[in-house]
Amino acid sequence: MAPGRTGGRRDITRFTVRVNRTEMSTDSPAERPLLEVLREDFGLTGTKYGCGEGQCRACTVLIDGRPEPSCLTPVSSAAGASVTTIEGLASDGDLTQVQRAFLEADAAQCGYCTAGMIVEATALLRRNPKPTRSEILDSMNPHLCRCCGYPNILRAVEMAARPEGDDA
């Protein structure tokens, strides 16, 4: 749907985003962070707030396949785009390879950073299915885990990149 004015208040616009393969709309000020729209308007609370300034990446979602911090993405710039959140990865209850690897590697302590980590790792493995350790580190480094479970998270990403029986 084309953006258009709605309602009484002048700064409110209707935005439509394709989230996890479903069209979703909201009437919102243009500058409102996508993170808040996902959580408060669409009920998708799997994406987390950690800093609101691009420093922790707990809020990472895929926008047209690219990992982006949703706290810094105004809803207006996501309008018309295709967004994937942590809730949209597994289909019909089947976990993705990355999700399974995070389970098996016990990569979550409190788990609050996990959604962002999994979304980032998913994007990395889609564009580079066999990343080296330093490529993994480069991609994951912007993500904070305050429980400092970094070793298990790295193990999870490496496991997802090299599933069993595949020692390439």
């Binding site: 809730e87 976990l95 996990t114 480094n141 904070l144 305050r146 479970g149």
Partner: protein, 709 residues
């Protein structure tokens, strides 16, 4: 002894024990059955969660176990899960004694209306205090079921076996659910479980002692788990709070009309000014509009630059009470110091912030004069009582539920966000979700205390003969030396501190052990002995020696390579809360900063309950310790933080993780202790000692800096 000093046990840490636990129960038998359904209810008492010294009193139950007639098994305790693995460990403990799989039972944590009060989740007490009580409750249930089955078959209970949720004999088998319905089984009600129930022996463990997958990890990897910040209630609003521009600033006036014009709820109640609206964006806009009208008055506030002197100047040297100064002396320190070779140095540590990934959050909902709050806190019952006090309610009218929370590290003992959310919900007449921003979490949550230390010792050859340790403000955990020294004086002075302070991983032990273990290195150098040998020679505690040797062996102490300039290795050890840590570190200082090349940790906490989780806790704790050692330091001036954000307050990231190895010593002959705190206390001193080895200059304050070129 000077007036005002008390010579009693230093434990538990003065910083940790903010308020004593209060024990109350919101549920009577009838309500209980209504909540859980009919079945067998077993109640077990434990020791006081945080016992103050020798006074271990009998307290009301800390664990309940419910075996439903439908076959459900539910364990209820007042502990919380903040990432340390309590939920999984409790499930393992119950599963072990009930002979079922951990997946076959449900663990309900920290809901003040159904779980018993188990104090706070702090001081690494879940493993040594809660787990044994859970095991006792479950073992008692198992014995009762066994006896009931034996009765009905008219057999000797010893002829029966228990497995997979049923009692069996030859080919016959009867399920727990069936037994729970049996008229022969009389509910034990709230009677305490006898203490003498046989627990499964370590050698027979099938679930404990083995790695268990984290309970609920599936919900975490799919984004389904609801943290406190994710709780949504019908018709809920989102809130925010107007904060003062600086510490100590007082609100003179504010105009709330702009908020009302924006359709937001606005409330001022004393110093509290808050807003609620349909979205957090609208609430923030209302707050911004009003904050422009706010007038504040602020006074002077010190700077972090002067912390060391400030703390000493503001030391509380007299006065008693639980939070007063402490002193303990054995032998004659003054005389012994006069006889040996003396060495004396001062140390300092700054304020650090826990910065858990999930900032404080709460959802509050009123139903007439009953209040329900979902919030992330390590003290559910303490927060319930604070809420009751703040709103003049009976504690029974308040229900606090703690969903598994996004990190704590000792930083979430308080309930300010719960009270704020409840105040907003009351004004709005609707549920309100309040989530602190990262900036609020940095500025308005409490800090790990800053501290200063003065240490003096006398050597006779390679033996320490006198030890005089004075600590200003760190807290008292691990303040007493674990080394075998004939004359020891330990003094602790709390200070009138410039920032709000509270618990942290290891709390006082972080500073006390930093000062002690760096000083031990200085003494070793003065004695002309290898720092490992020096420690071993001055230790009597075999467990501490064992972790030192284990770390040194794995590391190849003192490091195999011939050191080039700018490379050095260091070692440190520590004991706290029933567990032992030793760390060897190698650093490089040529790059203009301290780079950690390698870390080896050896840790021992008695019998290991869940090896994978212990390993993860030790690793995470050590890496978090790298931050406090190398980069973390809260700076402030004029009542404002100068670095209250992740862009200015540097915490460890992926690329900061050095190659590291963890050696776990499993002492199945020793009762289990917690693992989430102690590892942190040896990180900073090991690195400081390595920096000395690399540069020849001592670093006596944190975070570590390199000597100026």
């Amino acid at each position: 002894m000077p007036e005002g000093f008390r010579d009693d046990l230093f434990e538990p840490d003065r910083k940790e024990l903010g308020e004593g636990p209060v024990y109350r129960f919101a549920l009577d038998r009838r309500e209980w059955v209504a909540a859980m359904g009919a079945g067998l209810l077993v109640t077990a008492a434990g020791e006081v969660a945080l016992s103050a010294g020798a006074a271990v009193a009998e307290i009301p139950p800390s664990t309940r176990l419910h075996l439903g007639e439908d076959g459900s098994i539910t364990v209820l305790t007042g502990k919380v899960e903040v990432g340390q693995g309590s939920r999984t460990e409790i499930a393992q403990a119950a599963a072990e004694e009930l002979c079922v799989a951990p997946e076959d039972l449900r663990v309900i944590l920290a809901d003040t209306s159904v779980t018993p009060n188990d104090g706070s989740t702090a001081g690494s007490r879940t493993t040594p205090s809660t787990v044994p009580v859970v095991r006792r409750a479950c073992a008692a249930a198992r014995e009762l079921l066994l006896r009931t089955a034996a009765d009905s078959w008219d057999l000797d209970p010893t002829k029966l076996r228990v497995d997979a949720g049923s009692v069996a004999h030859a080919d016959e088998r009867v399920s727990y659910a069936h037994l729970a319905r049996s008229s022969r089984l009389t509910s034990t009600g709230d009677d305490a479980v006898p203490r003498r129930v046989p627990l499964t022996k370590v050698g027979d463990w099938k679930v404990l002692g083995r790695s268990a997958l984290k309970v609920r990890s599936r919900e975490i990897v799919t984004g389904a788990h609801r943290y406190p910040s994710d709780i949504v209630r019908p018709d809920m609003l989102y809130g925010c709070v107007l904060r003062p521009p600086s510490y100590g600033a007082e609100l003179m006036s504010v105009d709330l009309a702009p908020a009302t014009r924006l359709d937001a709820v606005a409330v001022r109640d004393g110093e509290f000014v808050g807003f609620a609206a349909k979205t957090s964006h609208e609430a923030r806009n209302a707050m911004k509009a009003c904050s422009e009208t706010a007038r504040w008055q602020s006074g002077p506030h010190p700077s972090s630059e002067e912390l060391g002197t400030l703390l000493k100047a503001r030391a509380q040297t007299s006065g008693g009470g639980r939070r007063g100064p402490r002193r303990r002396e054995s032998g004659d320190v003054t005389a012994a110091l006069a006889r040996g070779t003396n060495l004396a140095h001062s140390y300092e540590i700054p304020y650090v912030q826990h910065a858990p990934m999930e900032p404080r959050a709460a959802v509050a909902e009123w139903d007439d004069s009953r209040l329900t709050v979902w919030t992330g806190t390590q003290r559910p019952f303490g927060v319930r009582d604070h809420l009751a006090e703040a709103f003049r309610l009976r504690p029974e009218a308040v229900r606090v539920i703690v969903p598994d929370t996004g990190g704590g590290f000792g930083g979430k003992h308080t309930g300010e966000v719960a009270i704020e959310a409840a105040r907003l919900a009351k004004a709005a007449g609707k549920p309100v979700s309040l989530r602190w921003t990262r900036a609020e979490e940095f500025v308005w949550a409490y800090f790990r205390p800053a501290a200063a230390f003065e240490v003096r010792a006398a050597l006779n050859g390679t033996r320490i003969v006198a030890w005089d340790f004075t600590a200003y403000n760190p807290g008292t955990a691990a303040i007493e030396t674990p080394y075998a020294i004939p004359h020891v004086r330990t003094q602790y002075f709390p200070c009138d501190a410039p920032l709000r302070e509270g618990s942290y991983r290891g709390i006082g032990a972080t500073g006390n052990n930093f000062a002690r273990e760096v000083f031990m290195d200085e003494l070793a150098a003065a004695a002309g002995v290898d720092p490992l040998e020096f420690r071993l020679e001055n230790l009597a505690d075999e467990r501490m020696k064992a972790v030192l040797r284990a770390a040194a062996d794995r590391f190849g102490w003192p490091g195999t390579e011939s050191f080039g300039p700018g490379l050095g290795t260091g070692i440190a050890a520590g004991f706290e809360k029933g567990s032992y840590i030793a760390i060897c570190a190698e650093v490089r200082t040529t790059g203009g900063r301290v780079e950690v090349e390698r870390l080896v940790s050896a840790f021992e906490c008695g019998a290991i309950l869940n090896p994978r989780n212990v390993q993860a806790q030790v690793e995470g704790c050590v890496i978090q310790g790298l931050g406090a050692a190398l980069t973390e330091e809260i700076r402030f001036e004029g009542g404002r933080l100068l670095n209250g954000s992740f862009s200015r307050y540097r915490v460890p990231r992926f690329q900061d993780v050095p190659p590291m190895e963890t050696v776990l010593l499993d002492r199945t002959d020793i009762d289990s202790a917690g693992a989430g705190e102690t590892p942190i206390i040896a990180v900073a001193p090991a690195l400081a000692n390595a920096v000395f080895a690399a540069t020849g200059e001592r670093q006596r304050s944190l975070p570590l800096r390199l000597p100026r070129a």
